[in-house]
Structures are given as C-alpha cells and as structure tokens.
Amino acid sequence: MTRILIIAEHAHGKLNISTRKTVSCAAQIIGAEIDIAVFADQASDVATQAAQLAGVKRVLKVEHPAFAHALAATYAPAIVELASNYTHLFAPSTTFGKDLMPRVAALLGVGQISDAMAIEGSHRFVRPIYAGNAMVTLDAEPGHKLVATIRTASFQPAATTGNASIESVSIAATLPNHTRFISHSEEHNDRPDLQSAARVVAGGRALGSAENFNLIYQLADQLGAGVGASRAAVDAGYAANELQVGQTGKIIAPDLYIAVGISGAIQHLTGIKDARTIVAINKDPEAPIFDVADIGLVGDLFSVLPELAKHL
C-alpha cells in the first residue's frame, strides 16, 4: 500500500500554498494514504491548517527548538527517522524542498525525482528536463522508497475541507549544529505572491532602470497582479532576486502573464509555459517571446504602458 509523507513548507505560522499543491499531487495516486509532517519549534498553528487539507489522514507535529528555521541539515536526519513508515516522501519543488529532499534521499540511500509535473501511477512520473524543452517519463523501481519534489505550477491547491488527526511525534536522532540560521531579508511587498498570483506583470532589461521598473509595479497594482522579472532585470538591479521567473527563478502558472520588454529566452520561457494567457509587449517583432504569446503587441513599452493604464 502507498503511504506518502509530505514535508510541510511554512513560515511565520502559516502553511505555504506549495504544501497544498503537493497534497493534490499525492492524492492522484489511487489509494494512497497521505500524512503531513510539520517541523517547527512551535507547530500547532501550522498543524491545524495542514489538518484541514482534503485527503490528508494524519498530521505529525514534530517540535524542537532546532526546527525554528528550515535548515536542510537539521531537518534531514529527523525526516529519515520518520521515513520507515512510508513508501513515498514528497515536498514541494520550491527552494525549501529542493534544498532538503536530496539530502533526505541520500541519507536513505535512494535517488530522487525532481520537479514531478504529472503522476501516472505510484511509481511513474513525468518531469521536465532541459529547461522544460523536453518531458521525460520515468519509472521508479518499486523496491526503493520514493523521494520526490513536486512542481507546484502543475497542481491546484488541495481544498481545505479535510479533518485529519494531529499527533505529536518526538525525534531521537541527534541533530547537527554545524549549520546555523543568521538572517532573512525583509519581506518588502504586500503585493500578491508571485507564485500564486492569478495575474503577473513582468519586466525585462528594456526597463532600463530601477526607477523605470516602477512602471511594472504601477501596471501590476492596477491589475491586482504580482510582479515578476527576467534574469537580466534582476542582475541589473532593477528588481529583487525573488522576482525572477524562469529556469533559475520561479516557475509560475498564472491566468494572465504580461511580459514587458522581455525577449523570451528559453530559460525565461520555462517559467511561464503553464500560464493560461501570455501577453507580450516588445518593440522587436522578431523577439522569441512572440512565439509563445497568445497576444502580442509590437511597440515601445514607454508609450504602450501609459496607454494601457488609460484603457484599463
């Protein structure tokens, strides 16, 4: 029987939506029993939220002062201790899961499926390779525990209609203290979160300065949209690193994506393949972004954006 343990991603007492999407993925395995483990110094609030997710059987509260911050080296031995009861271990393919799960897998002596985007049975997965320019279907050997990270853009968040039981679990493993949390940058916006926003406006190198990048923010505010950026815009300092969309940034699937002054390099496109409607505004009619755009507008962004603001 398939028994899946999902490692919850959370911060400041709130369950990250990536966990809900991971649950949806797990629920596609027929007959699977799904548990969620919440590692934290104080896990009650997050555990309560996790227990509401449809399809979840049990929530394991694993509390320890060392779990105050999500350090892979500290979490991994504890997860290994819980793993014996499970056939599958899942986490979202966010920086949280990408950091953590390979460490868990190696401690268990098994491999990992990264960025699972579809599940075709308990041991058959589809995942993107080459920046999403190919999709590989993999069969995992059923004799091994299966560790996977789940591509959140491929799954809808699980409903919050569940009622799982919550249990406290204690850990016997000695936790290393060779890795210590120091600080986290301030969260500086109250805009819709890029990864879950229904609409995203993104700017590229063409914006030319951090000041001009405000045009992107203004359009986003008008649309109630999240803000994204190309690598070139981030490297040039026009936008913060967490706004980067693409192979090395975030993979997103909004209903509407507006790319402004972005050429459409393959590494960028891999981040927006699942967007429902892609709009491109670019002055170069040959820009590759037009190959994927549902609606293209050839023009200078500095005249198009003010016009757009008027018509919205």
């Binding site: 949280f96 990408k98 950091d99 491999g111 390779i129 080459y130 949390f181 940058s185 609606i295």
Partner: protein, 249 residues
C-alpha cells in the same frame, strides 16, 4: 593549507535549442556544442577567487563523463584550477551515483570546501551537491549568491523563494552556486595552452567501488506540448478589448 574541490558537468551548451529524438529515447546530442554547465563555471570562478584571496591553496576540478569530458576539465584548468580529476564513464548516471563518486574524491583529497552548481542545465535535477553533503555528513549551502569566509567564520547568502537567507556553516562544507554569485572570467588563449601542462588524473567509475544500479528507468522523452499560435494587436486599446473578450480581465 586548504583545498577546494569543484565538481563540474559537461552539458549541452545553454544556447543550443535541443531536439528530442524521434523514437523518444532521449535528446539529440550528436554534433551539438557542449560546455561546462554554467552554474559549475560560477563554482569554479568562486574557487579560483578564494585562492586568489589566499583563502585556499589549491583548486581541484573534477568531472564524471566520457573521454570528451576532458575538454571541459581543460577549460577549467585554463580558468585557473591547479589540477583536474576525470572520472570516466560513458553512460548517464543518477545524481546519487555522482555524489558517491565525488565522495571518494573528497575522502582522498580532504578539501575545506566543495563548490558546485546548484543544478545542471541538462537534467535540471539539482541534487548532487546536497547528496554529497549528506553522504559526507557535512553542512550544505544551496543556491548561494554570496559567500564570505573570514576568521574561520563562513557565511553563505542563499537565494530563496521569499528573498535572501544567510546561514553560517562549519567547514568543511558543500556550497551550490546560484547565478548571481559571480561572473566567470573569460579564458584567454595562452591560458588554454598552459593548461595542457597541468596534471589530469584519470579514474574509471567502474573501479571506484560504487554500486552503479539505476533506480529510475526512462520510459519516454517527449517535446513539450506546443502552444497555439497567438494573435497580434495594434495598440493598448485593442489589447484590453481582446483580454476582456477572452475573459481574462
């Protein structure tokens, strides 16, 4: 004094538009330009800079792959690595196997740091660094965009989904690099000539005492579904109208 081991991978160059083989067995790589994985190039640059600042005494560049992998190792030597280790193997291996092979090198060389890219741009797995850190039982700092080593204190700033996180690590440790850690130098022709004289040690993966069984079997490789061809609008007004018609606004 201290060594830094840099693990690099030979991959299809990031500018190449890859094509899937018609029989679905993989990607066409014949006659395709190959390069050092860009993230690994950043790892190498960081190691060389640490040596230039006197924090490391030797930079060793290692890679697993077929004979041609030595081309990338030579580029690494030309960039400034002191010596190279080639672990020869002709077929693709899983990250856990790579981590086990690199662990053998780590045990032999006892480096202060292992630096590698956060992911390889071919299989996009992003696993090898973390797996090596786990098997070695040492700290890891993944997606590093800033590395500070002063007075025995090592701090890594990591690019995480909600910003930047700084952690402190005891050494030895494994660092995986993000794109903003540095900008790799260009290799000059005389360096490439000089690099031919630098030592390159060869191991056969099959002889390293590692079990090579694969846990995952490729069933099929397919191109992604194509998007439908879009339409062009002439101005902002028409754009807004069309978005409304489509029900997106």
């Amino acid at each position: 004094m201290s060594k830094i081991l840099v693990c690099i991978k030979r991959v299809v160059d990031y500018n190449v538009r890859i094509r899937v083989k018609p029989d679905g067995s993989g990607i066409i790589t014949d006659g395709v330009k190959m390069s050092i994985n860009p993230f690994d190039e950043i790892a190498l640059e960081e190691a060389i800079r640490l040596k230039e600042r006197g924090i490391a005494s030797e930079v060793i560049v290692a890679s697993i792959g077929p004979t041609e992998t030595q081309q990338q190792l030579r580029v690494g030597l030309a960039m400034g690595a002191d010596r190279a280790i080639h672990i020869q193997h002709d077929t693709a291996i899983e990250p856990l196997t790579a981590a086990k092979a690199f662990l053998k090198i780590v045990e032999q060389e006892a480096p202060l740091l292992v630096i590698t890219g956060k992911q390889a741009i071919d299989d996009d797995n992003a696993q090898t660094g973390q797996m090596l850190a786990a098997l070695w039982n040492r700290p890891q700092a993944c997606f590093t965009s800033k590395l500070e080593i002063t007075n025995n204190i090592t701090r890594a700033t990591r690019e995480v989904d909600d910003g930047l996180e700084t952690i402190e690590l005891d050494l030895p440790a494994v660092i995986t690099c993000d794109l903003r850690l540095n900008e790799p130098r260009y290799v000059k022709l005389p360096e490439i000539m000089k690099a031919k004289k630098k030592p390159l040690e060869l191991f056969m993966l099959n002889d390293m005492g590692i079990t090579l069984n694969q846990q995952f079997k490729t069933v099929n490789v397919a191109p992604p579904p194509a998007r439908q061809k879009g339409v062009l609008v002439k101005d902002a007004k028409e754009l807004v109208e069309l978005l409304k018609v489509k029900g997106v606004l």
